[in-house]
Symmetry: C3
Subunit: 338 residues, 3 copies
C-alpha cells in the first residue's frame, strides 16, 4: 500500500460531476460520482450490489441510479429502493459502499477509509481557490506514475531548467538559494529572489516597471497536494518571505490523487489575485500549464517504467530532493498511523 | 478450475470446420479442427509433437497435416506418418493428443477429459436442431467473460427489460410469475402468459388473429448450454406448460463453451417449426439475435471486469437468480465428481 | 535465467551507435549506447543514478550525457561531473553501471557480467566480417522468442523446405546427408553436395558453367551466434569439406542477443568474397535475407506462444535437431559455470 487511508482525496473538478454518472478509480477503489437533483454530489462504489455491473453503466432516475442489468434502483445511500422484480420485497442488506463527499474549493472530495472518521474540517485549506478577490481554474490529466514521484517533482523547482527547457526553464533559477522547512505534516521549500527584473509574465501582471522581489514557495499538504505560492512585488514595498501581498500573487494548486499504486489523477490549476475578470488571461495560463505539465508527464512516466526495469538501483536524495524526501517521510508515518 | 471435465463441448458450427485447419482453444486446451477427405471432423491438440509449432499453421495433405516448420506429417490419430527427414524411421511414440469428436445437431462436439470415457450418447439432446419439420440456424461470438456469468444471464429473462431496452425489452415480462424447477442435473425456469395479445413477431408467425397463450421455458443443460422454449398458441387450443404444440414454437439454443477461466465461445441460434422454408425469416431472426446478443456482451464483459476490480463484494442471489444459482450448484457438484 | 553471464554480446550494428543515445535492453539490463567525440562507443545502464530517468532521454554534452530531469551530467565512466545544482559538490559515489564495450567485425559488443572479467580476446572471431577481400552487410530485427529457439532454427537447415517453401526451400536439401560434430564449445553441422548443378544464385556468383561441389556448414558459437559457411566450387578444383576456397564463398552471420527470457535481438548479415564492389549484389542479398527471416520469425513467434499454451508437451529431439540440442547443452553447462 502506498496511500494514506482515512483522508479526503480530490476525486473530480466540480464541473466534471454532473447528472450523468462519472466512473473514477481512487486509491484502487472504483467509484461512481454524480449529482442529485438538488446539486449535491454523491460517491458510491461503482458496482451494483446485486451482480456487480458498474453503476456508471446505469441510468439516472431522480436521485438514484437504475442498474443497466436487472434494473435494481440504488439510492445515494447505496441501498436498493426497487428490486429487479418490482413486486419483490426490498432487501436493504444488499448495499454498495458509499463514500463521504464534500464539495469545497471547486473540487469534489471523497473520503477513503472509515466513513465514520470523515470530518469536513479535515479538507485541506485551499483558500485561494474560493476566496473573494481571487479567481481559480485548471485542468485534469491521468498520469501513469506513483503519485509520490509527482510530489518529488513539484517539491523541487530545479527540474524546470531541463524538463521545461523549451518553455519556462531558466538557468538563473538554479542559482537562487533554497530553504527547506518542515512544520508538523507540512513541508515548505522557499526561494526568495530580491531586487531582480521581473520575467515577462509577471511584468505584465504587475503593470508597472522597475525592480521587483520575486518568490516561489512550494508547500506539501498531505496526503497528496502541493501548493506553490508565486509572485512579485515592487522592491520599494519591502515585502518579505513571510508577508508579500503588495504586488501580484498566484497559487499553483496541484493534487495528485492515487488511482492505483502506479497511476494517479492529476488535478492542476492556478489561483491569482490579478486580472481576475480577464477570461483571456485565465485561458492563456491554462494553455501554458497544460503544455508544461505534458513535459512533466513524459519524464514521470519514463521514470516510473525505468524504476521497474532497474530493480538494483535506487532513488538517491540530493539536497534538491529534500522537499520530496520530507514529504515521503510524512506519508510513510501517516500510512502507519492510519 | 471452473469447468466440468469428461464432457462434450460444442467446439464449432458444422460449417466452420472445413479442409483448412481451424484453431480454437477449449477449456484452456489449444485444439485444431479440420475435416478428413470423407468429411469426418478431426480434433487434435494444436501443437506439432516435434517442436510444438501450431498444427493450424500447417498444410493439409490427404487426411493429414504437414507441420509448417520441419514437415513432420501428423495423421488424424495424432501420430507421425512421415518424419522431417523423409528417410528417417517413423517414431510413433512422438504423438499429439487427439480428442474424441462427434458431429450432431449441426455442431462439432469435442470431448474434454479422459478419451476412454467419451460416449456419443452423452451429447446433449438438442433435438430441435435436427428434427424433421424444424429449421435451425445461428452464429458465433467470442465473449470475454466466465461462461457461468452467461448462464446466469440466460437463466433469467428479467434482464431483457433493461439490457434490451432498445430492442426486445418489455416491462410486462417483469410481471409474469416465474417458476424454477430442478430435475436431476437440469434446471427449468418457466413463465406461462395465458390469454394475451401476441407481440408482433409471434402474431406474424402464427398467421392468425385473436388472444394467445405464450410461454418461455429456460432449461439449463450441463455443462454449459441453455435452451429456451418459446412460442404462442391460440387460447382455444387449450395448450399447457407441459404440452404446447398447437401453435408456433421455437427453441433458442445457446452453448457457452469455456475458452479460458475468463472467456468463452458463444454459439447461439434458433430452431423453429414455422416458415421453415422461408430463408428471409431465418435471416431476420439471425440479424435480430446478433443485435440483441451484442447488448448482452457489453453487460457481461463489464460485469467480468468489475468483479475483478471489487474483490470485497460478492454476487448476490435474488429470486430472479435462482435459475443461475441452481445451475452453478450443479456445475460445482459435477466438477467435484469429474 | 536462460543466458550465459560474463560474455560479450552483440548490442548493435556499428552504424546504429551514433551521437544520439540509443536505448537497448540486453539480457534484461536496460543499456544506453552512444559514441564519444573521438568515435569510441560507450555503454552504460540506461538510468540516471539520481532519480532513474532513462539517460537515453537526455542530452549529449561533449562526451557526456546530461539527464533530462535535473540536469546531472554523467561521464562515460558512469560518474557525475556536474550536479543538479551547479554549485553542489560532485558526489562520485552516485554512479550508474558501465559496461565494457568493444567494436569489432562491424558490431558494437557489450560485456554482460563482471566487468573485470571482460577480455577483448574473448570476442568471437567473425573474421569474414572484416577481412581483406570480403564484404559484409546485414540488418536488425526484434523477435519475440527465446534466443535458443532461434539457435535451434539455424542449426537445422531442413526447415528451409517448409518454412521457406515460397522462397529458398528445395526438397533436394532434405536428401543430402548431414554430419554433426562437437568441438569444445562449438557445434558444427555439415552438408557436402558433390557434383551437382549449382542453383541460380551460386551459378551467377561463380560466373562459370558446369558441375559444382556445394557446401553448407552451420557453426554454433556460444553464447548466441550461428555462422553458416556456404558456397560452391568447380568439381575439377577438388575442394573438400575441410578446405574449399577455389570457388565462391559466403558466411551467413547471425547473432541472437537475448533481450529478455522471451525476446531477442536478431543481427543478421552475409559476408562474401565475390562481387565485393557490387553494391547491387549486396542490396539484393539483404532484401532476400530480410524476406526469408520474416518467414522464420512467424514460425519462431508462433512456437514461443504455443510452448506456453501447451505446458504438458515438450520439445522432442530428432536427428535433425542434434545441432541445436548440442548447442543447448553447451549453453546449459556454461550458464552453470559463469
Amino acid at each position: 500500500m502506498t496511500f494514506i487511508r482515512n483522508r479526503w482525496y480530490v476525486a473530480a473538478w466540480d464541473g466534471e460531476v454532473a447528472n450523468a454518472p462519472l466512473a473514477r478509480m481512487i486509491c484502487n477503489e472504483p467509484i461512481v460520482l454524480y449529482r442529485k437533483l438538488d446539486g449535491t454530489a454523491v460517491a458510491m462504489r461503482d458496482a451494483c450490489p446485486h451482480r456487480l455491473l458498474p453503476l456508471s453503466m446505469g441510468m439516472r432516475e431522480g436521485d438514484n441510479i437504475r442498474c443497466k442489468y436487472h434494473g435494481m434502483v440504488i439510492t445515494p445511500e447505496g441501498k436498493p429502493c426497487e428490486m429487479p422484480l418490482t413486486h419483490e420485497r426490498v432487501n436493504e442488506k444488499i448495499t454498495t459502499p458509499v463514500y463521504p463527499v464534500v464539495e469545497k474549493h471547486r473540487y469534489v472530495w471523497v473520503w477513503i477509509g472509515e466513513p465514520e472518521k470523515a470530518d469536513e474540517n479535515l479538507v485541506p485549506d485551499f483558500w485561494p481557490c474560493s476566496a473573494e478577490g481571487w479567481v481559480f481554474d485548471g485542468g485534469y490529466m491521468k498520469v501513469n506514475c506513483d503519485y509520490r514521484l509527482f510530489i518529488d517533482n513539484l517539491m523541487d523547482l530545479t527540474h524546470e531548467t531541463y524538463v521545461h527547457m523549451g518553455s519556462i526553464g531558466q538557468k538563473e533559477l538554479m542559482e537562487a538559494p533554497l530553504e527547506t522547512r518542515v512544520e508538523g505534516d507540512e513541508v515548505f521549500l522557499s526561494r526568495w529572489m530580491p531586487n531582480i527584473d521581473p520575467p515577462p509574465f509577471w511584468r505584465e501582471a504587475l503593470k508597472k516597471t522597475g525592480k521587483v522581489d520575486r518568490w516561489q514557495i512550494c508547500q506539501f499538504i498531505e496526503p497528496c497536494s502541493v501548493i506553490i505560492d508565486v509572485g512579485v512585488s515592487p522592491v520599494e514595498a519591502g515585502d518579505t518571505l513571510e508577508s508579500h501581498d503588495s504586488g501580484v500573487r498566484g497559487f499553483v494548486i496541484d493534487s495528485m490523487t492515487p488511482e492505483t499504486e502506479t497511476s494517479c489523477h492529476y488535478f492542476w490549476g492556478m489561483a491569482r489575485n490579478f486580472d481576475i475578470h480577464d477570461a483571456g488571461v485565465t485561458a492563456r495560463i491554462k494553455a501554458g500549464q497544460d503544455n508544461i505539465f505534458n513535459e512533466d508527464i513524459e519524464v514521470l512516466e519514463g521514470q516510473q517504467k525505468n524504476i521497474a526495469l532497474n530493480p538494483d538501483m535506487k532513488l538517491r536524495v540530493l539536497s534538491i530532493d529534500s522537499g520530496g524526501a520530507h514529504a515521503r517521510k510524512i506519508i510513510e508515518r501517516l500510512m502507519a498511523d492510519a
